[in-house]
């Protein structure tokens, strides 16, 4: 029998294999409740300018219990290595720690990663003591290069950010599962619970999502669904599914049939 292992990122164990974003929720209170319902132990945040002229805005940190949930600052919106590295250093100096979700975006429409810049930024950040979780494509070549460069996980997209398309190419995710030894966390593109379950059935160590929960018609119900889906998918993976066959194989015995 396969006993499940926790998700281990840079030596820290996480029981939950579901990492959740903090963007696009109707409000911070709903966001907080969704996080609780997912059982997540890590949420992403972005790094942006202080609003100098309007000081009345709420702080997102008032809605995240940092005793139970680790913060994962991202470099969303960074289109070059210098901006991404600077953003990570600012996040660290904010007191958010050295764990970062590294994004170096290459295209505005698809928000696909610029993998060349991503690899360079990963090397610089690893050398500077960061724990780097790079948001990458599902290309096994770049994934292995990121792993060799010291990335603490590899986070391939399933589909464009916020698209809800689900897993566009399950075969490349399977290939990555076989090739990568650091945690494989599928990040981006999940649309509904079955997508999350499928990600875990393919053998991913974790899944990261934001829009699928935040923009669902009922975010809190979707948050619960995602928790169940990730657990079910992981259990199914460990249970070992039956092979796919072209033809039928009866489940009831032939002998003893009446005439």
């Amino acid at each position: 029998m396969n006993v499940d292992k926790p998700l281990i990122i840079a030596g820290k164990e996480y029981t939950s294999k579901l990492i959740v974003g903090t963007g696009k929720y109707p409000n911070f209170q709903v966001m907080k409740e969704c996080h609780t319902l997912t059982g997540t132990e890590m949420v992403t945040i972005a790094v942006r300018r202080e609003n100098i002229s309007d000081r009345s805005q709420e702080s997102i940190l008032d809605y995240i219990d940092t005793e139970k949930i680790d913060l994962l600052p991202n470099t969303a919106g960074c289109y070059n290595v210098e901006d991404a590295v600077l953003t990570c250093r600012l996040a660290r100096e904010m007191g958010l720690g050295a764990l970062v979700k590294l994004e170096v975006i290459g295209d505005e429409k698809t928000l696909f990663p610029d993998v060349v810049g991503l690899l360079e930024a990963t090397k610089q950040l690893v050398a500077d003591g960061f724990t780097v979780l790079p948001y990458t494509s599902d290309d096994v070549v770049i994934a292995k290069q990121l792993e060799d460069a010291g990335a603490a996980a590899v986070m391939p997209l399933a589909a464009p950010i916020g698209s809800g398309l689900g897993i566009c190419n399950p075969y490349t995710i399977q290939i990555l599962r076989e090739a990568i030894t650091v945690p494989l966390i599928v990040d981006a593109g999940v649309g509904t619970a079955s997508d999350a379950a499928r990600v875990m059935e393919l053998g991913a160590d974790g899944v990261l999502m934001n829009t699928a929960i935040a923009c669902a018609k009922d975010p809190k119900l979707m948050a619960s669904a995602m928790k169940s889906a990730v657990e079910a998918g992981r259990a199914a993976y460990l249970a070992g599914r039956i092979p796919r066959k072209l033809y039928a194989s009866a489940s009831s015995p032939i002998e003893g049939m009446i005439e």
């Binding site: 974003g21 903090t22 790094v47 000081r55 940190l61 100096e93």
Partner: protein, 66 residues
Amino acid sequence: MKIHVNGQIMELEGELTVTELFVRLEVDAAYRAVAINREVILKSNYDSTIVVDGDKVEIVRPVSGG
């Protein structure tokens, strides 16, 4: 002197430290970070780092994001 703070021009009587700038802007430094001319300023250097004429200051905070 004239500096940029988060993309806006600010006119100040004279130079000031990063700590003094936070006070002037009424911003709590907790969970904030500062870069001047794209160099991150360590919190331990806020009292000793002087903001001078022409500096481009970025003060950032955590916000929602995926």
